[in-house]
Structure formats: structure tokens, C-alpha cells
């Protein structure tokens, strides 16, 4: 085969074929609008044409019941899903603070090299292995019903909210510790070499060089875990803590209408969607910055 460039052919054809041109250029916007409308139309039509559509709409999407379950009804003793949701919010915020602190601590122990910390390294590894593997629901059961059964004074006489928070924290610390650890390992080795050749100690390098860079790279994955945590506060309902889902269930069994569950879903979405969008934007910025630094 010749290594020369091809000089035989005359002017090559550079036009896109007709079928490709339909979807590109000025047509792009129109095509995407048509396809969106078509898709959404099909889904909505399917929902209304389904044989049980009327029942579902009455049972889950009834405006009157949705509003009533949201605000509650003190006279008849109906609990407010909205108020219950406040419990989800404070649980998630409190847990997140604990999770970040403890997760960083566990990660720090796992990457440490001091012989003094050797037993803690083994413990930390076992801990993350176990709690990343056990389903959160089981941890909630074990903590929520196990700790009170132990009969250990203060430890055994807390409210379901507290046990719920403990279970969430224990599980999420294991996840978040691994995120931090991955972030620490993602810092280029040259950074560590440069810091070491300045005569900085291991601890100082960790605090001043490694962690500040690691934290920056793990913010998006940490936000992802925060979003999951926010949703998983609903699992605490199995312990009887009155949060949004529990309140909606109580409403459902009292009034025989499940619209409260949809209200709870909407409340969760109101928090998670903006957070997800925000995380995506951060990830996008990060990716663009990385691409820019390559060129």
C-alpha cells in the first residue's frame, strides 16, 4: 500500500445525505419540539385511557385530599404531611453534618500510615465494608428495635427520630468515607512529592495540600449522596417517627385516600430536583475545566 496521500480523486462530495439533514441545523429545534410533544402526549394519553384511570386519579391525585393531607386537620386529629416533611428536613441536615465530619475522619484513618493507628485502620476498613453492604432498611430496623431492646439506659430510651438518625448516619458515613478516600487518592502524586520535598510533615500535607484539592473534586459526588440521604429519611417511617411518609400513611388509613403519598413525593421532589440540577451544573463545569486544562 502506498504511503502517499490520495491524489487520484477529483473534488470529493462533502454534503450530508438527505435523511441526516432533516435532523440538523435549523430543523433541529422543530424536530425536538415535535418529538417532545409526541412523547409526552403518548404518556398522558396512556394514563387517561387506562381502565383504572379514574380510580387512580381519585385515590392518588385528588386535589381536595392532597391539600387536606398537606395542611392536616387538627380538629379531626389528621396529621399534616407538610409538617411531617419538616422532620425529614431537619433529620437530613443534622445527619449530613455528622456524616461529613465522621466520613472525613474514617477516610483520614484509612489513608493514614502511622503504625499507632494500625488497629483503627483495620476497624475502619471492616466498618466501611460492612455498612456499604447491608441494606439501609435493615440497619434502620436493627438500630431502631435493637438498641431499645438492649436495655442500656439512655442509649435505649431515645425517640424513633434519634434512632433513625443514628441508622442513617452509620450507613452514610461508610459511603461518604469512600468518596473522600477516592478524592484523596485522586490528588496527583506530583503534588505530594512537591509538598514532601518542602519538608512538610504527613499531617500538614494532608491538611494543606491533599484535602483542599480532594474536597473540591468530591463535592459533586457528595451532593449526590446528600440527595439520596434526603430521600432515605423516609425509611425512618418504619420506626414510627412522624415524618412525611408516615403522616401520609396515617392520613391514608384514616380517610381512605392516598393523595397524601403523592403530596409527600412532591415535597421530596421540590428539594431533590433543584439539588440534582445544581450538582449536574457543578459536574459540567468541572468537566469543562478539565477539558480546558488539557488543551
Amino acid at each position: 500500500m502506498s504511503l502517499d496521500t490520495d491524489e487520484s480523486s477529483s473534488t470529493p462530495n462533502l454534503f450530508a445525505p438527505r435523511y441526516k439533514r432533516v435532523f440538523t441545523g435549523r430543523n433541529g429545534l422543530a424536530v425536538s419540539i415535535v418529538s417532545s410533544v409526541a412523547l409526552i402526549g403518548v404518556l398522558v394519553a396512556l394514563f387517561f385511557w387506562a381502565p383504572g384511570s379514574a380510580t387512580v386519579r381519585y385515590y392518588y391525585f385528588n386535589g381536595h385530599y392532597m391539600w387536606q393531607s398537606f395542611v392536616g386537620h387538627p380538629k379531626t386529629g389528621l396529621l399534616s404531611v407538610g409538617k411531617g416533611f419538616l422532620t425529614n428536613i431537619w433529620m437530613c441536615l443534622l445527619c449530613e453534618v455528622l456524616i461529613l465530619i465522621l466520613g472525613l475522619g474514617v477516610a483520614w484513618i484509612r489513608v493514614s500510615r502511622s503504625p499507632l493507628l494500625a488497629p483503627f485502620r483495620v476497624l475502619a476498613t471492616a466498618y466501611t465494608d460492612v455498612f456499604r453492604g447491608v441494606p439501609l432498611l435493615l440497619v434502620v430496623f436493627l438500630v431502631g428495635f435493637g438498641l431499645p431492646a438492649l436495655g442500656l439506659g439512655v442509649l435505649s430510651s431515645q425517640s424513633p427520630d434519634v434512632y433513625g438518625c443514628v441508622a442513617l448516619t452509620i450507613t452514610y458515613v461508610a459511603y461518604v468515607a469512600e468518596v473522600f478516600r477516592a478524592g484523596i487518592y485522586s490528588v496527583p502524586n506530583g503534588q505530594i512529592l512537591a509538598a514532601r520535598s518542602l519538608g512538610l510533615t504527613h499531617g500538614t500535607i494532608m491538611r494543606r495540600v491533599t484535602l483542599p484539592q480532594a474536597v473540591r473534586t468530591v463535592i459533586p459526588p457528595l451532593l449526590n449522596d446528600f440527595i439520596s440521604l434526603q430521600k432515605d429519611t423516609a425509611l425512618v417511617s418504619v420506626l414510627g417517627a412522624i415524618e412525611a411518609v408516615r403522616a401520609a400513611q396515617i392520613y391514608e388509613s384514616t380517610v381512605f385516600n392516598g393523595s397524601g403519598l403523592v403530596v409527600a413525593s412532591l415535597l421530596f421532589l421540590a428539594i431533590t430536583i433543584p439539588l440534582t440540577r445544581f450538582t449536574d451544573r457543578l459536574l459540567d463545569q468541572d468537566r469543562r475545566r478539565r477539558l480546558a486544562s488539557l488543551s
Binding site: 496527583p188 506530583g190 512529592l193 512537591a194 520535598s197 518542602l198 519538608g199 512538610l200 500538614t204 486544562s293
Partner: protein, 244 residues
Amino acid sequence: MSDVVLQLDQVVKRFGDNEVLSGVSLTLHRHEVVCLIGASGSGKSTLLRCANLLESIDAGTITLFGQSLNDERIDPDLVRRHIGMVFQSFNLFPHLSVLENILLGPVRALKRDREEVHAEALALLERIGLRERADDFPDRLSGGQQQRVAIVRSLAMRPALLLLDEVTSALDPTLVGEVLDLLRDLAANGTTMLIATHEMNFARDVARQVAYLDRGVLVEQGTPEEIFTRPRHESTRTFLERVR
């Protein structure tokens, strides 16, 4: 005190079965510049890393100010505070400003007064013409500027010697000059340096001694004149012909 700063004696370094340094001996005197030349993979970088204990050695001795670094009581962190090192890829800390990059070592490792070091750092930046970039982050600087800041970061530790590991190899050809000029300036002012380099003209200009490394063996060492015009060994001659 003798004026020998660093001495390597029969240093052997292996990575697994691969012997990277096979009994290298080298002496660096105060105010002296020694250039290490040799093909990529000849062991230049490893030698520099061994010298400030970033790598452990398998045999031989390294002596700094007459003290053997093989001694178990040696604290590597203390050793490195006396030895500056500059890398091929700059390795500035991207989350710190130029000024903070320079302050980190003196303030956190040497526990020196921040204000005092601050003034010194600005003076050093002034000297390399980057005073007004003090508050910029490294990614706003060109490669040549970053490397000059990295050199100044090492100098701020007031090291007894400077190790430079192919500091111009990652730079655009147009930016090599400004970095080499700074090194020439340092050499003229008596900074003790051990320089691994591919810049033969530079080595000829600034080095008191040039050492040629080939696959972990220090084949020959001499003045630039001896190495570049009358190399005694066939392999040195071949290498020089190839890089020319």
C-alpha cells in the same frame, strides 16, 4: 567544616528486578553546579529523588553535611528542609495563590514568622519579575512563569542545595529561555545545584562538573570541556552525537 554538601557513595537503587542505579558515586561542593546528562531512563531522576529521600536506596551511602542519611535516627522531613527540589511538571499547588505557594514551606515546615516570609517572598517574586502576579493562581500563569515560581518556592526555604529534575522538559521551546536564565543567575550567585538536564548548551555554560549516566552507571564525570569536547568513553560520544 568541609565544603562538601552532598556525597553519594556507591548508591544502588532497584525497582523490583530492575536496577536503576548501579553503584553511583558523586560529590557536590558548596557553590558548585553539577549537571547530570544521559538518555531518558538512565537514572537521573531517581538519583535526585534518592538524594532527598523521596526514594530509599538499596545499598551505598548518601551523606549530607557529613552526616549519613542511612542512619535510622534521621528525620526525612528535616533533611528535605535543607534540600530544594524542582520538578519537570512544576507541581505548584493549584488551590493556592502564587504567594501562598511560596509561603507554605517556610511558614508551615520551618515555622517562620509569616510577615517576615511574606516580605521575602515578594522580594523573590520581584527578582523574577512576577511581583504583580503574587495573588494569581498558578493556572493563570504560563509554563515558564510557573516553573520560575516553583524555583522560587524552593529558594524560599533557603536550602543548602537545589535539585532540578529536567525543569525545562515540559516547556514550550519559547519558554525554556526564561527558566534557564534564572538558573544561570542563581549559578552566578553561588547557589549549589544538582541539575538533571537535556539542555547541553546550558550544561556546558553553567556546570562546574558534568556527569554522564547510562543505564544506572555513572560512565564518566569531568569539566564541561572534558565531557563535551574530549569524551573518553564510546557511549558518552555516541550519546552526545545523538543529542546534537
